[in-house]
Symmetry: D2
Subunit: 390 residues, 4 copies
């Protein structure tokens, strides 16, 4: 897990520990439900965690905050302290994206890599992955990208071609951290899952790399809350021929993600990912849509979204639907991460390569494209599961 001491990774770690100890039920895990539970997926017990992280704060501090916020149950944290310590010990210093250089809370080891060449960074990351594989003896490593949103950056010409990309790695140029992580993972033979809005891992060059190496990869941007709801609801309007006049979405969040997204450059990509599905589903260019993301520190991990949908029915009658969604960002994301790791491992085992269309329902902006209608996306997953069910 890249971003291994963030809130999501912490919930993944304690969640797996709690599941194994029978302290938690597998609520939120699609892979534990029919028909996915009839596939030969890796067992919950078989998953071994490792990761990269640039921040200094230990997992214990993050877990403490999540307990106080009412996300992690105190008894799960107490019972999982051994597992957590083992995970924590395996975390290695990550690499910085440009905007993170100079942040106050950096792990000095991560900070010291700031000046290294792209090639040096990539080599170090790959070595980390390989030594993790050796030390743990796991059969397959899946890399999941869970770090903060990067600033939206302009595409470079060498992004569109693998050879050009590799050549540029040997130069002095700047690369988004997400591109370097994805490159390292794929060249180390690992499927790659991008749970963030960062575009750097889904550039054409890396798509070519995945095909070349025969590896599956998927992304982008986990569909956990307001966008999930939107893509589950908007089809209803379209199917009933109701005309959506306006869909305003106001997102409030108080965690590190929210803080990062105060930066308009970092927010831009995320807002696009949250907004685009509506237009595709509704198929009406006149629909006025807007997505806001605001940082409200007191909410901590509890993302609260207030949406207002203005629509027209028969006779020109104007009607409205309004909803408020209040959910723990990390508790919503963590089970999807576990589901995706299991699905990516399975796909790699089956020799699938390239984008994983069966995972579209997990993402705001699915790598393989297709419909944003959550129900259609989920049907594709079910079809895939039935094909592979035993």
């Amino acid at each position: 897990m890249i971003g291994a001491r963030g809130a999501i990774s912490t919930c993944v770690a304690y969640g797996l520990s709690g599941l194994r100890q029978g302290l938690l039920e597998p609520v939120g895990l699609t892979t534990e439900c029919s028909p996915l539970n009839r596939m030969d997926l890796a067992g919950i017990d078989a998953i071994v965690l490792g990761g990269h992280e640039i921040a200094e704060a230990g997992s214990t501090a993050v877990a403490g905050e999540l307990v106080r916020a009412g996300v992690l149950p105190a008894e799960v944290v107490a019972a999982g302290s051994g597992d957590a310590a083992a995970f924590d010990a395996s975390i290695r210093p990550g690499i910085l994206d440009l905007a993170e250089v100079g942040r106050a809370d950096l792990d000095p080891a991560a900070a010291s890599m700031g000046g290294a060449s792209p090639r040096a960074k990539v080599d170090r990351l790959r070595e980390d992955i390989e030594s993790f594989r050796r030390e743990t003896g796991v059969g397959r490593v899946v890399v999941v990208y869970l770090a903060s949103a990067e600033p939206a950056i302009e595409e470079s010409p060498h992004w569109n071609d693998l050879a050009a990309f590799e050549k540029a790695l040997d130069g002095e140029g700047e690369f988004p951290a997400s591109s370097l992580y994805a490159y390292s993972a794929l060249t180390a033979g690992c499927p790659f899952v991008n749970f963030t809005p960062n575009h750097g891992s889904s550039i054409e060059a890396l798509r070519q790399l995945a095909i070349e190496r025969g590896l599956p990869h998927c992304g982008n941007d986990g569909k956990t809350g307001e966008t999930l709801l939107k893509t589950a609801l908007a089809p209803m309007f379209q199917k009933r021929a109701l005309r959506v006049l306006a869909w305003q979405g106001y997102n409030m969040l108080g965690n590190r993600d929210g803080e990062t997204l105060r930066d308009p450059l970092r927010r831009a990509k995320k807002c696009r990912n949250k907004d685009a599905p509506l237009h595709q589903i509704l198929g009406d260019d006149r629909t006025h849509t807007q997505v806001g993301i605001d940082f409200v520190p007191s909410l901590h991990d509890w993302k609260t979204a207030m949406d207002f949908v203005h629509f027209e029915g028969f006779l020109g009658a104007k009607m409205s639907l309004q909803f408020t969604w209040a959910g723990s960002d990390s508790a919503l994301a963590a089970p999807l991460v576990i589901d995706l790791v299991r699905l990516a491992e399975f796909a790699a085992r089956k020799g699938e390569s390239g984008e994983m269309p069966q995972t579209a329902c997990f993402f705001k902006s699915p790598l393989a494209g297709g419909s944003h209608d959550f129900h259609e996306q989920h049907r594709e997953l079910v079809k895939y599961a039935l094909k592979h069910a035993t």
Copy 2:
């Protein structure tokens, strides 16, 4: 249309008139959208309206109220006055259900039929249908039941068998008005659509009758608002393995329907229809659900529903979704009525007989059973349309 001077019928009448004159767009009409618009359905222009009604108030008064309530546009009413007068002239006195005897605003002609025998009522209704067919020269009559909710009544033994039902018609016993209307329609060779929660038209005896006569029929209880939303949303929780702990639904409405539903006996059936789909979709017996319907006169036709969904995610984290739906009850229902009339006419033309599973997405409690998941129901309709598309 049974209940021909009610708010829904009035919206159907002015809506069709407005569509023909190009004053309205076909918003809300599924049959005007792809792929249903590629079926050989009866044209909007080909529909001729007639009906039964027990209340005295003229359609003009009802239309005036709907204009003041902001449902019907004044210009559509002005331009449709000729069509409305023609429709109004064709309306004939209906028959009363038990609880309506003695109501203050009854059409004296309807009231005077109160004491007639079931057989006499049925004969008169059938004659009305046949003379409407003769006078208008329409190719096929479809009967749509839009009257008020009847009190929930106990099933009689003769409901389960057509021969027993017909024998009882000759006796002195009481029948729900909905049974008599459905019997008359089917024996007059007309497909029957039950848009209300009334159970009387879907008893076993009448299902046998539909098969015997080779006629299609469908119902029950139009899925227009809160239940539509519920059955579009609940599948999201199930598909994401989120555990719904409680789903509380509070419906407020101010029209005649709302007033009628103040009677707990009439409300009971409706609440069951609104509640049952959740349990089927979520498949979890522990979910605490509740549906309330309250009469709030100032809302008039604007049905407002406030729902609170409490759910559990990964790690036992408790989250919530809350929504408020504010829509015009009649403007939501009227296009579904037009869609159903066209689909029933089409089915009859194609020689279909019995329940119409393709119409499940239009009903809270579909006659043919099946999934309550709106998206699955809609997919069945699309499949049917594609099969018949030209």
Copy 3:
């Protein structure tokens, strides 16, 4: 505290402990704010807790539930275990109200008093109070009634006269538990605070008793959540000459209080208390109002209220306000209990007797009557505080 192992009492106990240890800030305590903090009120440190309780469950179990529900912070419970144990040891068996006889979770000692005569019960309660006073050496005992809602009962003739009431105590008749507690407290020389909707402590006979003994008393029904909000908001409509057409209030709660209120008889009084203020403030008989209380177990202590206000403005334009309030019932009530104990102790010290009009802002149905406008009520409290400020 009567109901000493309930959620409110538990929050009072741990809250006082946390305040003394500096673990909590005095949020929610009006008596710690200006100008009330300039009165010579009893110090937080000077309060010693005792109580009566009929249920068997220990305070620790209740505290554990409140920690899991996210109401009580785990560290406050850990640090307060000594204080809690001392409080718990001082709790004595209470007396049952009629409807509680036969409940499963009763303290056997409380259950065994079920058959005793009213006089015997009263004598035992008074003895308990007096021995608590002796043992703790406190200067003054204030009795706060925090038990469950009693069923609404019909008034008896002997309620209206102290002599008749006392005579009846010697008979075999039934008395609401709240009357017996209030009688015991007042005859033991203690001010009495009724935080519940129970009417038994505010009958005419007991009002006479308070005057006769020169003791202050106050009630009824703590104004903690939705009613607080209503009485803070409704004056805005009245002051702006906006006409409230309808005010629908839907309350959902999941604690023992909610369970008790499933009983329609117990709910009736509470709903009246929650509804009456609106009519007085708005002064418009045509306003349609409704208050519902529903038990939603998963909410536990988190009372959630959804209100819909439909109003008319200039030109007859119909507008709406809708709000959702989500608060911990016990965390909202506990500081009011502490405030009221301090104000009752102060009033007794100053020789006040009878109803305490200065406390109206704390109650849904103030004993002394007067305006329900929260802002006017609060102004009276401020005036009182300024008069007594040092």
Copy 4:
């Protein structure tokens, strides 16, 4: 009325007409309620309307839009056509603020004044007022500023002193239109009411002018919707010692005002006015507050605000209040305009001069300062009314 063909002015005109004809009740008019109705205010029948406007569109077009939007009743518009025509005929071309130069829909006569000197503009406006007074024979003219929000501009040194201001009028410099209107009104002997966020009419120089001429004036920014609600609700938190952690306000509006406020410079002042009261009332610097205003065209005049209040109670428990307000912007503002005109006329008649503290409850940012607590502000108005009641 400056902005005489805007939605508010149109509602004032038809509203007065409807009141006179008995078609409307005085809902929303504080001056028609006790105790203000016991003051010797100018009668509804005595008010004669006139105005300035820069846009070309006739009042009839605006009224038609407001009928379609469900704000103005069709029958009031029909019955008021004579009054409206008379008002329309009396409207004269207004002057542009800087940012309006070049707008597409300008009245050519207004556009042609664009290049005139400040002094020439002022002279013309004053002449218009004086000829209106002569032609109508009214006893007193009150000028109400209802034009669009101006861009926030930097203060000039000559704003702080009347002599400097008047000297600058003879130069070539730029003045906010609001300053020129206010100067013209006051020098024509008219009380001035600023219903907009525009600061230009409340600069020090013009405050001096009002005193010098012995005229009352008031403003700024009518408190009609979300801010009204905020200042009615926030005191509840403060009085109950509840700590507001965050107050997020999202305003959506679709009228010309909303379109104008898309300009961040024009929005800035309005947002400040909407935000500042909270901090003053809550008295807590740590409260995180945010106010957004978004243009949602389909809403037309129906301003919809969604607010989220996150607060902390006793024991550190985090709670929330969330509300949605949906009201017609113009129907909320129009009665306040009528109230303010009557109060300004009364104040002028009584010889009051300078700011009118009794009107604070009508404004987001009252000229005379003082508390933002709506209930306190209203109490001041009641005190004033009682002093002058007959």
